[in-house]
């Protein structure tokens, strides 16, 4: 079973109102690797993570995590499955009424009966791993964006999960924290034998850590492969995204009526006769 994929997504369909977000997505996420899911903003990458985490229910298709169909589990079984996952939110999503230490201790306190001294040791170990052992007494409001994300990462790995979902880990980071996060994700994955799913549109950083990539656009997987194969992919949709070209199959303009009509009103009548 060790080579079986950790997550299998089959024929996934999902809409919000009239807006179709996914139209038949198929993916296989291998165990113990970093898999990146990329795509332009608004393609529903975060939605995909929420579907994997069982917070949203697809209209069609299924998501199987380690042999369990996420959306057929009871509420209780789903919460048990979630103990094996960690998720890093874009905003960090730290609990604002707890300090850094208690935020990282939270999963340990609710899911284990460990004595306080052991909780303390584990929390300090996790905080040491993200370099914030000294910040344990700060409140979330006192942290910078990058620090908040590192604390959230320490919290996400507190229970030593088998899977971590990263939601846009690099967005809005200065180059230094970006470098720190890239290194942390890579190191954690190797050290803890995790399966990681990174959702991102930061190409350089993502290509440097991913073992395998999926590119989604228009509700479908448009390409997948290793970073090398995607870099040389000739599909215009893929190369526009990978090379960051402003215009291409993904248009620069939001759909609108013709420009001259919008500015001038009705076109001038042509004279006849």
């Amino acid at each position: 079973m060790i080579d079986a994929p950790f997550i299998e997504i089959e024929d996934l369909h999902f809409s919000r109102g009239d807006h179709e977000i996914f139209r038949g997505i198929n993916m296989t996420i291998p165990r113990g690797k970093v898999t990146a899911i990329m795509g332009p903003s608004g393609t529903g990458k975060t939605t995909l993570l929420k579907l994997i985490g069982g917070q949203l229910t697809p209209e069609r298709g299924r998501i199987v995590i380690d042999g369990q169909d996420v959306h057929r589990l009871s509420r209780k079984a789903l919460f048990t499955l979630r103990k094996r996952m960690g998720m890093l939110f874009q905003s960090g999503a730290l609990f604002s009424d707890l300090d850094v230490f208690e935020n990282v201790a939270f999963p340990l306190r609710v899911h284990t009966d460990l004595p306080d001294t052991m909780v303390r040791d584990l929390v300090l170990l996790k905080l040491q791993a993200v370099g914030l052992r000294g910040a344990r007494h700060l409140t979330p409001a006192e942290l910078s964006g990058g620090m908040a994300r590192r604390v959230a990462l320490a919290r996400a790995v507190a229970l030593d999960p088998e899977l971590i979902l990263y939601d846009e880990p690099f967005v809005g980071q200065d180059p230094i924290s970006m470098g720190v996060l890239v290194q942390l994700i890579k190191r954690l994955n190797q050290a803890l034998q995790l399966t990681s799913v990174v959702v991102s549109h930061d190409i350089k950083e993502t290509l440097s850590i991913a073992d395998y990539l999926y590119l989604i656009a228009d509700g479908q997987v448009v390409a997948h492969g290793t970073p090398q194969t995607l870099d040389t992919n000739q599909d215009p949709r893929v190369s526009q995204f990978i090379h960051g070209e402003p215009d291409g199959p993904v248009p620069f303009h939001y759909p609108a009526e013709a420009f001259y009509r919008d500015i001038l009103g009705e076109p001038p009548m042509t004279k006849t006769g």
Binding site: K50, G53, Q55, R75, F79, T80, R82, K83, M85, G86, M87, F89, Q90, S91, A93, L94, F95, S96, F106, P107, R109, V110, H111, A152, R155, L165
Partner: protein, 244 residues
């Protein structure tokens, strides 16, 4: 109609269940936040309302030479009506709006989602202690409101306007029935506690997670709770005292 169904399922999922040891700790914490911190506004309002009742009551009763009945009048008005209703309205403004805003902000900053992903049900961890704290603390606040109000009536009626102290207390004692006056007042208060807290936490949990959404939901909490309290008060009064 659909929102009402959602709110019903929400209430059931949050309120039903055996609390853990941690649950008790969270509940106590919320009792402090929701109940103890509302004490000041509720008690001060109770004092003033009792004083005003005595003052207004005296000017009417004295025309009939019936100012000895002042104690009974103050006590019955407070126990049957004013304490449950005004305490609930104040509670909606002080604690209800805070509950909505707090839960709403937790939702907007993805704290509820991240809690779910950690494998902790926010309905049990965040909502249940707040609901139970509201259920329990409002009736207690109502008792405090009545006690302080009756004392306020005493200050104005007896100490200031010179009603005979013995008749203030003995008329009250003789004419207030434990079950039909105090008991019915407490039943009202329990119903208001359920409705106000339910509205407050549901509005917080169900709002659109933006700053505009939070402000709207907070307003809705106060408006809906106030209307529900006043409407239900009429219905309950009709059933309890109107011989329906």
């Amino acid at each position: 109609m659909e929102a009402l169904g959602r709110a019903g399922v929400f209430l059931f999922q949050s309120a039903v269940g055996v609390p853990s040891r941690e649950g008790w700790r969270l509940w106590l914490h919320q009792m402090h936040f929701v109940g103890v911190l509302s004490l000041a506004i509720v008690l001060v309002s109770g004092l003033f309302i009792g004083m005003v009742l005595a003052l207004q009551g005296y000017t009417i009763l004295v025309d009939f030479g019936a100012e000895q009945a002042l104690g009974q009048m103050v006590a019955l008005s407070l126990l049957r009506e004013l304490a449950p209703v005004v305490a609930a309205l104040l509670f909606a403004g002080r604690a209800g709006s805070a509950l909505t805003a707090e839960i709403g902000l937790m939702k907007a900053t993805e704290q509820l989602t991240s809690m779910e992903m950690i494998g902790v049900d926010p309905l049990r961890r965040v909502v249940a202690p707040r609901l139970w704290a509201g259920f329990v603390s409002l009736p207690i606040l109502t008792v405090g409101f009545s006690v302080v109000g009756i004392w306020g009536g005493y200050l104005v009626g007896v100490e200031w306007l010179g009603v005979f102290e013995g008749s203030y207390w003995s008329n009250m004692q003789a004419n207030v029935a434990f079950v039909s006056d105090i008991g019915n007042g407490m039943i009202k208060s329990a119903v208001f506690a359920l409705v106000v807290t339910w509205i407050a936490v549901f509005q917080g949990y169900d709002l659109v997670p933006t700053s505009e959404g939070i402000s709207r939901a907070t307003t809705r909490t106060v408006v809906y709770s106030s209307l529900a309290v006043l409407g239900l008060d009429f219905v309950l009064t009709a059933v309890m005292f109107g011989g329906l």
